[in-house]
Amino acid sequence: MGKHTLSVLVENQPGVLSRVAGLFSRRGFNIDSLAVGVTEDPEVSRITIVVDGDEYVVEQVSKQLNKLIDVIKIKQLESFDSVSRELALIKVNADTATRSEIIQVVGIFRANIVDVSKNTLTIEISGGTDKVAALEDMLKQYGIKEIVRTGTIAIERGNKYIKAKNNDKE
């Protein structure tokens, strides 16, 4: 078992996301996270899916996704050869006694404070899953009121890139 990141280029059309998501539930695959957004080509969206499973599962996920007509291309990204990020917004209790302490922690994580009130701070953090989890862990002691996070997005390092143009599905 383990986490695997798949980059999936799809037609930017309504219904595509539900087809992709539906396939996971139907075939009994587990999604850790899913993030979708349009690419440099407005007709193409890129879905980043983190799958929890062994090699068999990842192979089946890729092959079944490839069967969807709207899926243009799939690539599995290796963690050592790609950069991945997620974004979280964390609202934490902060009064005059704890505020400066929290600001210090935020500074260490190179996160940003995006909103402040008399008794809360809202922090924006982006990074790998571990980093976000670590900050969350540090902030727990002050009382977290709310967390919202995106799915992981990932891109390959170096000169490699995934394009819809060359037709062969990988």
Binding site: E11, S18, G22, R26, I69, A164, N167, K169
Partner: protein, 553 residues
């Protein structure tokens, strides 16, 4: 159409509905099966002016199954048309049945007006959403100008690669829009490029494996029929002397009475076939997906034998069995290439052994054994002797299906039509209607049970109205026989909900439609009754009273 011709000649604009009809004509569709309703009315209006034959079924599910039967008998894409809401949802079982068996089908559904979608108006159903798990692809048409392209793509997707059903959901306002009709010859979908040509190096490895094998066996599935690879297959099998076991979907790929055909494999298959699979040193899987009913423990097979898997769908490779030599591509092309690399294998001894096993374990039928019942296995073997090779048999699901699979002799591809993957009761009769429509010169016989028949018997009306001469054989044991057998074996004979003792007078039902029929209760009447059934081309029922204790195998 008349009014549009009058006013529209200059800019040549036609309605969306007319565009759909025209697109169907471009796809050489000659027959569609359907059922009208409010949101598909513009299409039906446009259809009046077309040569396309429309067959009105008595239930939308029947229309979908009939399109399926038509596709399987003709080798072309089956088309069914229904209205929105319940019309569309009634086709779902038919769509799922086609999906599981990889049958090329285009389903056109009416939809409520675009501006009303999502408001739960009368007869609105999200049919693209509801069918997502069992369509190869679907479209919800947003703009009338897309219609020609979408219909073109739908037929292309349904019939190429691994075939399957494609659904087009068309809001009623889109059908009424006016567009300029342009029909392209080619299709370019960047996310859909089926790989047809097998990897040559892999094909050579398969040839190598065949030449080295001492105990090879071929498991041939429905993909062989979809790929129309029968000729190449026969050459391979006879040249190399390799025994064959078809899956339920593969029946007909090699004549059932061919000396190298062991019979169907699997939980409802024959001994020789399963013996071969379990003792082989090379198992060649062609166009089959290693379903649980065919191989319950595939990885035990893989431990003993080298596995070759050839399929058009890469997702099937490695899904259910570990494969030593995978080849992805079209079977017809691959077998053609494979045939150039192979010679007679060293399997002589093995083939002789299997022939002996087949003989030893063939079901011995004693036609004089019972006097109060018809033996269905005996009847089917007699039927096989009496019909010509063009005859098409469809089955329902249950004991009748397995009796037919193991005892009828399918002599050519497409002559045995059954719901394999889904096991859909109520499939056989509408599928027979579709098959008879596709092949009017063939005798088409629906082999049915008393349970299954009652799931689609309203389609007798379709036969009557459209003069479709399907013959129906009902094996009536007044039981849901296969479930009863399951309860007997697995649930200590605690029978429940399998009794159909209040069955209607089936012959009487046929007579109500103006058809003939008779009931037999004895083996000695079989030949005479079958002769009567087969003597003309009119609908006919032969009801056979069968012992409830008669076993499936």
């Amino acid at each position: 159409m008349g009014k549009n011709i009058a006013k529209g000649c200059i800019d040549m604009k036609i309605t969306g509905a007319q565009a759909i009809v025209k697109a169907l004509e471009h796809e050489n569709v000659d027959t569609i099966f359907g059922y009208p309703g409010a949101t598909i009315c513009p299409f039906y209006d446009a259809l009046i002016d077309s040569q396309i034959r429309h067959i009105l079924t008595r239930h939308e599910q029947g229309a979908a199954h009939a399109a399926n039967g038509y596709a399987r008998a003709s080798g072309r894409v089956g088309v069914c048309v229904v209205t929105s809401g319940p019309g569309a949802t009634n086709t779902i079982t038919g769509i799922a049945t086609a999906y599981m068996d990889s049958i090329p089908m285009v389903v056109i559904t009416g939809q409520v007006s675009s501006d009303l979608i999502g408001r739960d108006v009368f007869q609105e159903a999200d049919i693209t959403g509801a069918t997502a798990p069992f369509v190869k692809h679907s479209y919800l048409v947003k703009s009338a100008k897309d219609l020609p392209r979408i219909v073109k793509e739908a037929f292309y997707i349904a019939s190429t690669g691994r075939p399957g059903p494609v659904l087009i959901d068309i809001p009623v306002d889109i059908q009424n829009c006016e567009i300029k009709f342009e029909y392209k010859d080619n299709v370019d979908i960047r996310g859909y490029k089926p790989n047809l040509k097998g990897h040559s190096l892999q094909i050579k490895r398969v040839a190598d494996a065949i030449m080295k094998a001492k105990r090879p066996v071929i498991c041939a599935g429905g993909g062989m029929l979809r790929s129309d690879a029968t000729e190449e297959f026969l050459e391979l099998v006879e040249k190399c002397n390799i025994p064959v076991t078809p899956t339920l979907m593969g029946i007909g790929v090699l004549p059932s009475d061919h000396e190298l055909n062991l019979g169907m494999l699997g939980s409802h298959g024959v001994y020789a076939a399963n013996y071969a699979i379990n003792n082989a040193d090379l198992v060649i899987i062609l166009g089959a997906r290693v379903g649980d009913r065919a191989m319950s423990k595939p990885n035990q097979v893989a431990k003993k034998a080298k596995i070759v898997h050839i399929d058009i769908d890469p997702a099937e490779i490695g899904k259910n069995i570990e494969v030593s030599i995978p080849v992805v591509g079209d079977l017809k092309q691959i077998l053609k290439e494979l045939n150039t690399f192979v010679n007679k294998s060293e399997a002589n001894e093995w083939v002789e052994e299997l022939k002996r096993k087949k003989k030893e374990h063939s079901v011995k039928i004693n036609p004089k054994g019972t006097s109060d019942y018809v033996n269905p296995k005996y009847l089917l073997s007699i039927l096989a002797e009496m019909v010509d090779k063009d005859t098409i048999v469809t089955t329902e699901v249950g004991q009748n299906q397995i009796w037919a699979a193991n005892n009828f002799v399918a002599r050519r591809p497409g002559s045995f039509i059954t719901s394999g993957g889904m096991g859909t009761m109520g499939y056989g009769l509408p599928a027979a209607i579709g098959a008879k429509t596709a092949c009017p010169d063939s005798k088409v016989i629906c082999i049915s049970g008393d349970g299954s028949f009652q799931m689609s018997m309203q389609e007798l009306g379709t036969m009557k109205q459209n003069k479709i001469g399907v013959k129906v054989l009902i094996f009536n044991n007044y039981r849901l026989g296969m479930v009863r057998e399951l309860q007997k074996v697995r649930h200590c004979s605690r029978y429940t909900q399998v009794f159909l003792d209040e069955n209607p007078d089936f012959v009487g039902i046929f007579k109500a439609y103006g058809f003939e029929g008779q009931t037999i209760t004895n083996n000695k009447d079989i030949k005479k009754a079958l002769k009567k059934m087969l003597e003309d081309d009119k609908p006919y029922l032969l009801e056979c009273i069968v012992d409830p204790e008669e076993s499936t195998l």
